[in-house]
Every structure is written in C-alpha cells, then in structure tokens.
Amino acid sequence: MAAAVRAGVSGRILGRGSAVGARSMSSWWRSVEPAPKDPILGVTEAFLADPSPDKVNVGVGAYRDDNGKPVVLECVREAERRVAGNQNMEYLPMGGSVKMVEETLKLAYGEDSEFIKDKRIAAVQALSGTGACRLFADFQKRFSPDSQIYIPVPTWANHHNIWRDAHVPQRTYHYYHPESKGLDFAALMDDVKNAPNGSFFLLHACAHNPTGVDPSEDQWREISYQIKVKGHFPFFDMAYQGFASGDPERDAKAIRIFLEDGHAIGIAQSYAKNMGLYGQRVGCLSVLCEDEKQAIAVKSQLQQLARPMYSNPPVHGALVVSTILGDPELKSLWLKEVKVMADRIIGMRTALRENLEKFGSPLSWKHITEQIGMFCYSGMTPEQVDQLTKEYHIYLTRNGRISMAGVTTGNVGYLANAINEVTKSS
C-alpha cells in the first residue's frame, strides 16, 4: 500500500471563503490500475458480442438444457410459489438458516450420520461455494496461522484468489496428467507424502473443475490413508454433488471414505449448480470437530469471521433449499431433476466422442467419456482454442476446458467437426 503523501495534498489547505470546494484536488485514485479481466467471464462477454448465427458457448459452467437455455427447476418454482409474497424478510441468525444447514449436512455426511447425531459438526450457511471456501480460508488463517494450503493443478482459478486474499500461503500438488488426460496419481501421492505434516489439502469431492478427472474409489482410499498418516487437513470443495453421476450419494463417496477413515474434515457445499440457484448464493461450510463443545466453539468463530463480511447470509435461497429438502415430495422431484441434468451431460459426452470418432479424428477422445461432471479438459492448446473461436465462433476458456452443459444435440455435430478440424494435424 502506498505510504507516500499524494503530491496534490500538501499545498492545499484551503482556509478562506465559505464555499470551500474540492475541485483543485486531483483524484486519490489516479494510480489505480485497471484490473486484468476475469478469463472465464471474458469468454461470455465475447460470445454475447459475436453476431454469428453459428456461435456456440461452451465457456461458463452453468447448466443449459438441450435448447441451450438456462433452467429453473420445477422443484424450485414450486418452492418459490409457496414462499412468494408471504414471508417477511427478517435477518437470519449469523450462522444462517438452521433448517437449510441441517438438510445440507445430511447430503454431505449421510442421512443417518453419527456426526450429525453427536452434534460434532460446526456448520454455517455461506455465500455459495465461494463464500464457504473464503470463510474456511479466513478461519484457517486465524486458527492455524502457520499452515499452508495445497491446491491441485489445475483448479478453479478463484481458489487461488480466495486463499491469497485470506493471506494463507499456497502450494500446489500434482493432479492432472496431460499425456493421459487423466489423474497423475503417482505424483499426487508423492506430493501428499512430501508436504510438511499438518498441511491443508484442497480436494474436489467430485467432478473436478476444470478437468473432469476424479480419482477412482481405490485411489481415494489411498489418498485418504496417506493424508491420515501425514496428519494433513482435508478440505473438500463439493460444488457438483448430484451433478456428476446423477446420484448425490454416489457423488459424496470420497467424503464418506474420509469420514470412515476418521479424518476431521471441512466441506464447502454449493446449491448453485445442482439446484440451479446460481445467483441466490446458497451454500454451507462445515467443519467436523472432535466433540460438541469444540463444534460450538468453531461455529462461534466462523460466525465471528462472517460478521465483518456480511453479518448474516441471504435468506431467499436458503428458504428455497429448506422448502425443497424438507418436503419429501419436493425432495424426490429434485433428485429426479438432478438426474435429468446429469444424464443429459453424460449423453452429450457420448455424443461428442462418437461424433469426433465418426469424423475420423486421428486422436483419442476417450477422455471425453471418462471425465465426469460439467467440464471436459479437451487437451486442446490455447492456439487451437483461439482458432476454434476465430474460425468457428466457438467460445471456451483457453485452457481447453469445454463446458459440456453448453453442448446440445443441435450443436454437437458442429462442435465435433470444428474440434476435429483444428486438432487433426497435431
């Protein structure tokens, strides 16, 4: 932070006259630099500005139906119908909606989780996954001030920003294996072993963003074991539960393995994608503690950290979630709708791969169907991506990440052809 007194100030004590204006001052903000554009959001901006009728947006990770339109789930509409116009909007408690948090913990820890029964989980409503991660990062900084966070390579870009702004030192661990377009398991395990004991590890619970590459169940067990040996703290970012396989229980498998193995974990959960509540900012941060007393203490500290950030979280999204999850029929409807979304994406993966193979691409595209969740790490280079955009009006991030949610039966052929054209000579 600049410490020097601005030149404009020193000679400027105006004392006379009743109309003391400020026009002679120069702006305090003259030296503020324009911030670099967010790479992902920049893609959408460029897409919107493109007049081509063939344009395809496979950039942003928000679900689209087979017509390329955003979706409001039926269960959400019904929940909103029930609450619209008849609730006052009083402040939630600092920890958020108790009901919403209770239901959310069941999704992650299991309906009959002993940890929930024993009240060992410190949990607060958070501002979607981002807010949950940030709250945890701030908590980590305050109560584990000597610790560092290990972040996979690659990861959602904002993870780096979050822990940086929380002033927690960052390290990376190997994750994606470019040659196989799969998991670099050996290097990952080495990194876990070589990290100082008691390091914090950020793990994507399912549907890794941006690669779509998840460890197998066996691999998760080995990771869990090694993390336990080293006394590392596992922090799970679960933004896609239900969205990966279509079954929320299955998507929580990694977390359940760690719980069985006796880890004390932290989890960031989000309803942005799996309930389509993106803009409502609904999520949950939980930290599994040794006992109820510790959980109470930890929860109080999480609330303390939230107070000078936003005091208490927004009520509407939480109300929608608790209305849905608290009503067996609505919950059942939700589970069906999540499966429909996941199935459509899985279907598009198959279609994209088949189309590419049909076009006679010399490359292997099996990773498209092996990867899971919203994203596919295509393996394309930034230059190939630029070519896709320039020549075919196809928009995606330059790391080659394709948002499968943007793929439809209407554009999959066009997309496959374009990808084949730009990659076939590589």
Binding site: M1, A2, V9, R12, I13, S18, V20, G21, A22, S27, W28, W29, R30, V32, E33, P34, A35, V72, A84, G85, Q87, M89, E90, Y91, M94, L127, S128, T130, F143, S144, D146, I162, D165, P196, N197, G198, F200, E222, Q226, V229, K230, G231, A264, G276, G279, R281, V287, E290, Q294, A297, S300, Q301, Q303, P308, M309, Y310, S311, P313, P314, H316
Partner: protein, 426 residues
C-alpha cells in the same frame, strides 16, 4: 504405488507445530465472545414475562410488535415470481445493473453531477455490512492513508470492517452526554487535527446509536473542514427516509458533499427502509473527481468481491430494482417509509408525554429531538439492568432504545420502568 503403512513413521515425521498428527487442527479454538446486543436479545427471548419489552435490535416493528413485510415488497416479489422468463443465473460480480443505477439515483439524485458526469461507480453488495467491508478492503489496498476516524459512539460492527481490512482506527468526538446532543465543537476540533487524507466515517442520517444528527448548517461546517484537510468522507446510509420521512431530504448531507466536486465513498442499505433485512441488499458507491478513474476502480472492486463470494445474491436486489423503477411502486414505497417514520415520531411523542405526566426527574426533550429508529436515552447501565430485572425491559447497555419496539400499549410500561429506574438509582 504402495501406500506407506508403517505406523511408527508417524511419530518420527511429526514436525508440525500443532503437535500430534491425530489431534484436531482446531482442538484449541476458543469459543468467541457473545456479541453484547445478541446476548440481550437471547435473554429477552428466554424471558417468559408477558410484559417483556424488546427495545434492542435495530429492526422496524409494527404497532403490533411484528416484523413488517412492506406492501410494495410483497407486490414486487409476486411480480418477480410471475415472470416466468426470469432465470436464476449468476449476476455480474458488480451486481444487478438496473439496481446499481437506480440505487445511485436514489442517494445522489438523478441529476447529480456525479451521475451525469459518469464520475461514480455503484456496485451491489451484501447490505450495508458487505458494502462497508468491500469499501474498507478497497481503501486498504488503494488509499494512501490507513487511518479511519469513527464517531464516538458508532454502530457496534463498524470497527470490525476496518480492522478486518487492516486499517487503523481513531475516534472523533460526536455525542455530548451532557446535552444529549451533538458535540459539535468536538467534531470540528478532532477533524481539524486529523492527519491529512484520513478517512472519516459519517452517518448520512439517523445516527446509530444516538439518533443525533448535525443540522444543515453544522453539516456545512463539517464538509468544509473535511475538504480543507483533504479528509476522505465515507458515508454509511442505512436509514434513508427514516429521519424526515422523505427520501430526498434525508440524502441532503451526502448530496452537498458530492456537489462540491470532491470524492467520497457511500454505502447504502435497504434492510430497514425496504424491510429487506435478510435479503442483504445494499450498494457501495465511489464518487471520483474524474470519469476515467471510475472504470478502473470498478475493475478493482471486482477483484475484491470475487474471492469473497463471487457475485451478490439476486433476489433482494431484483425486488428493490422493481420498486425503484416503477413509478407507482416507488410512490407507494415512499408512503410506506413515511408511515413507518410517522409511527416512530408518534412513539417519541407518547413516551415524552408519559414521562412528563409522571413528573419523571430529568430533561427528556432529547427523546423528541433524536431522529431515526433510535434514542440514546441517557440511562446508565445500572438503571438499565434494574429495568431489565424489575420490568423486563430489554435494550442495549449503552442506553440505546429502538423506538420501533414500542406501541401505544407498551409506552406506559416503559415510562414506568424509566421512572422507577431514574428515581431509585442515581
């Protein structure tokens, strides 16, 4: 890859400062102290007395002691719900565009030079709290002066934003306990001796907790001192409309500062005046000397927001925008604000009259002079404790009374309590 399964290795390799690998990383997290006003509210909620009076937290209540869902809010929410074309996609990082523009007009006036000359950026944040935090973080990063002056006293959470941002706090005299009015000389002296360029937090209207606002003439002198010292005004406007019942009139202090061409930060909250409390609707504006600075500042605000919660919640802002942009809804809203304010004024008069009739010792005219939701009663801590014990009256220990917690039925009870406390405890 064989996992390392030699348990004896654990002890050897344990070098982390937080000791044993099997102890929770957060085993020694202490329980955070209860926030005083929350503790009061909890005590009140546990009190079984049928005559208990909750005059603590700063929320509006109707004559029946109930939260108020404004008619316009209900209508707006129903309108939003019936708009089937609306989706729940992410808002931009800076929030709902419509809301931002309308919010700026509400506080600055549609014909404000800051707006017409494109010299202001307004971003949607999570109510006043979230706006204060982003403003504080922005100052910490880009402003050359790290000292922030807060009025003595101020809203309990104010120091926390600036502390979280890493800034230094000082106070300026504000309230005179002898007159129960403004310590105007104290303000002028303290601002005159502030270091050049220091940030000064000002309550735009309806000071919390005292209810004491400067007069128009006093504001003018405050403005002159601030501009002549190059101090940076940071307005917190949480009660626009609650002083005079008129939104425009209550914005005058802010507008006079903007009219002189100088820079300032302004925070707005819609919690109270639109009853949107739990929806977390607010805005941060940065008024600059020149237009070219504004876009750069906006880009930097985005960098602060993204690692905190990515983008703000949509629901409340959509409601606010719907009200602000529709002539009928806006006019109806103005009337509802006026009605709320009239009720507060009525409660002031009734309480004053009741104390006057009882011949309660002391000068109670300050009850009539204070503005907004609160009155700084002047009662001492022991007197307040007495009132809680004997009369089940709950208020904050600094003597702040929320006038909205009163009704025609309960004023006599409060008057009795005050009378007893003042006569029995000196």
């Amino acid at each position: 890859m064989e996992p390392d399964n030699d348990p004896d290795r654990r002890e050897e390799t344990s070098t982390a400062k937080h000791c044993r690998v099997d102890e929770s990383a957060f085993a020694r997290v202490p329980r955070a102290p209860e926030i005083p006003i929350y503790a009061v509210m909890i005590a009140c909620s546990k009190d079984p007395s049928p005559v208990k009076l909750n005059l603590g937290m700063g929320v509006y209540r109707t004559e029946d002691g109930k939260p108020l869902l404004l008619n316009v809010v209900r209508k707006a929410e129903e309108l939003l719900f019936s708009d089937k074309s609306a989706n729940k996609e992410y808002l931009p990082i800076t929030g709902l565009t419509e809301f931002r523009e309308l919010s700026a007009k509400l506080i600055f006036g549609a014909d404000s030079p800051a707006i017409t000359e494109n010299r202001v950026t307004t971003v949607q944040c999570l109510s006043g709290t979230g706006s204060l935090r982003i403003g504080a973080d922005f100052l910490a990063k880009y402003y050359y002066q790290s000292t922030v002056y807060l009025p003595e006293p101020t809203y309990g959470n104010h120091p926390n934003f600036f502390i979280a941002a890493g800034l230094c706090l000082r106070t300026y005299r504000y309230y005179d306990p002898v007159t129960k009015g403004l310590d105007f000389q104290g303000i002028l002296e303290d601002l005159a001796s502030a270091p050049l360029g220091a940030v000064v937090l000002l309550h735009a209207c309806a000071h919390n907790p005292t209810g004491v606002d400067p007069t128009v003439e006093q504001w003018e002198e405050i403005r002159q001192i601030i501009r002549s010292r190059g101090l940076l005004p940071f307005f917190d406007c949480a009660y626009q409309g609650f002083v005079s019942g008129n939104l425009e009139d209550d914005a005058q202090a802010v507008r006079k500062f903007v009219a002189d061409g100088g820079e300032c930060l302004v925070v707005q909250s819609y919690s109270k005046n639109m009853g949107l409390y739990g929806e977390r609707v607010g805005a941060l504006s940065v008024v600059c000397k020149t237009a070219d600075v504004v876009t750069r500042i906006e880009s930097q605000l985005k960098l602060l927001i993204r690692p905190m919660y990515s983008n703000p919640p949509i629901h409340g802002a959509a409601i606010a925008a719907a009200i602000l942009k529709d002539r009928n809804l806006f006019n109806e809203w103005k009337l509802e604000v006026e009605t709320m304010t009239k009720r507060l004024t009525c409660m002031r008069e009734q309480l004053f009259d009741a104390l006057h009739e009882k011949g309660t010792p002391g000068d109670w005219t300050h009850i009539l002079k204070h503005v907004g939701l609160f009155t700084f009663s002047g009662l001492k801590e022991e007197q307040i404790a007495f009132m809680t014990r004997e009369f089940h009256v709950y208020m904050s220990s600094d003597g702040r009374i929320n006038m909205a917690g009163l009704s025609a039925n309960t004023v006599p009870h409060l008057a009795n309590a005050i009378h007893a406390a003042v006569t029995q405890i000196q």
